[in-house]
């Protein structure tokens, strides 16, 4: 019964949505021309990166905050006790990782660097490196420990972003209004810290809970 009702509801929703999206759009193009016109002042040649970190930098700041909020929520839900490394059961994965992990790190760094000109950026590179961390965790080669370094890495992206935002306010401009000529360097600084946070956050979220403290913590 429940399945039939849900199918009917879904079909009605689809009909309404289909009627909505096939309506006559009056002004195709949106903000394309404005976005592309100010790319040199925005500090990036890739329009999507310019939107993400220049025009709508505030949204990206909140997005990095959401990442921290998510991992804090996951950590507050469960504890995941550390297990003995079980990599010996997966020799093929180990052989694959020896080949792939260096490539993953290089590709992630490349995505971060190329994001200013071509599709790429901090989130793409961070997600790729997080995938490498997940593979390493499956092999038992990466065991995150709740300690100073992991927590510092998790908050680094948000800290640097908020720091740059505070700096732009302190320098007399509006929030996240980059000074003349400094936009691309500030974007790279923000993205560099963000890629560390994104990779560590997504890698830690795969654990599903708070890991044990490291052996050097009391």
């Amino acid at each position: 019964m429940r399945r039939h009702i849900s199918s009917v509801v879904a079909f009605v929703v689809f009909a309404v949505l289909a009627w909505g999206v096939t309506a006559e759009w009056t002004e195709p193009g949106g903000l394309v021309s404005e976005a592309r016109a100010s790319l040199d002042r925005a500090g990036a040649r890739n329009p999507v990166t310019a939107v993400l970190l220049s025009y709508r930098g505030y949204d990206t700041l909140l997005e990095v905050g959401v990442l921290l909020l998510a991992i804090a929520s996951v950590w507050s839900l469960r504890r995941v006790p550390s297990t003995e490394p079980h990599g010996a059961e997966r020799p093929l994965l180990g052989a694959l990782l020896e080949l792939i992990l260096p490539l993953v790190v290089v590709a992630g760094g490349y995505l971060l660097w190329i994001g200013s000109d071509l599709p790429g950026g901090a989130f793409q590179g961070g997600a790729l490196i997080a995938g490498g961390l997940v593979l390493a965790r499956l092999r038992g080669a990466y065991e995150p420990r709740d300690g100073v370094w992991l927590r510092l890495g998790l908050v680094a992206g948000l800290l640097v972003f908020v720091g740059v935002a505070a700096g732009t306010l302190a320098a007399g401009g509006r929030l996240l209004e980059y000074p003349e000529g400094r936009a691309s360097s500030l974007i790279l600084l923000i993205e560099g810290a963000a890629v560390v946070s994104i990779a560590l956050t997504l890698g830690a979220m795969y654990l599903g809970g708070r890991p044990d403290r490291g052996s050097d913590e009391p």
């Binding site: 999507v48 998510a70 996951v74």
Partner: protein, 98 residues
């Protein structure tokens, strides 16, 4: 290239995900259904941005943000489902099946 097929596909994905969300009790399937709905929304956004002669970067940036947020939400949802499994032994919604 007319974006109409992609707009309709996005709407269809949203509806399919909605049907899955309403029909299933297993939390993992509900999370997957929510992800499918999200994919439908992203597809509609991208298709809207592809209407003019040049692709619109603003919806693309919004979709990138949306993907990251939905990954975080899925991760948190999975942790919640695991916690529910630890507490009650099952990761399902409710006990009635009308």
């Amino acid at each position: 290239m007319s974006p109409d097929p992609y707009l309709l596909a996005g709407a269809a994905l949203f509806a399919i995900g909605l049907r899955g969300l309403l029909a299933h009790r297993n939390l993992l399937r509900c999370l997957l259904a929510i992800n499918v709905m999200g994919s439908g929304v992203f597809l509609v956004f991208i298709a809207i941005g592809a209407r003019g002669p040049l692709p619109d970067p603003v919806p693309q940036a919004m979709v990138l943000t949306g993907i990251v947020v939905s990954v975080c939400a899925t991760g948190l949802g999975l942790a919640l489902a695991e916690r529910l499994q630890e507490l009650t032994g099952r990761a399902e919604l409710g006990e009635d099946d009308p």
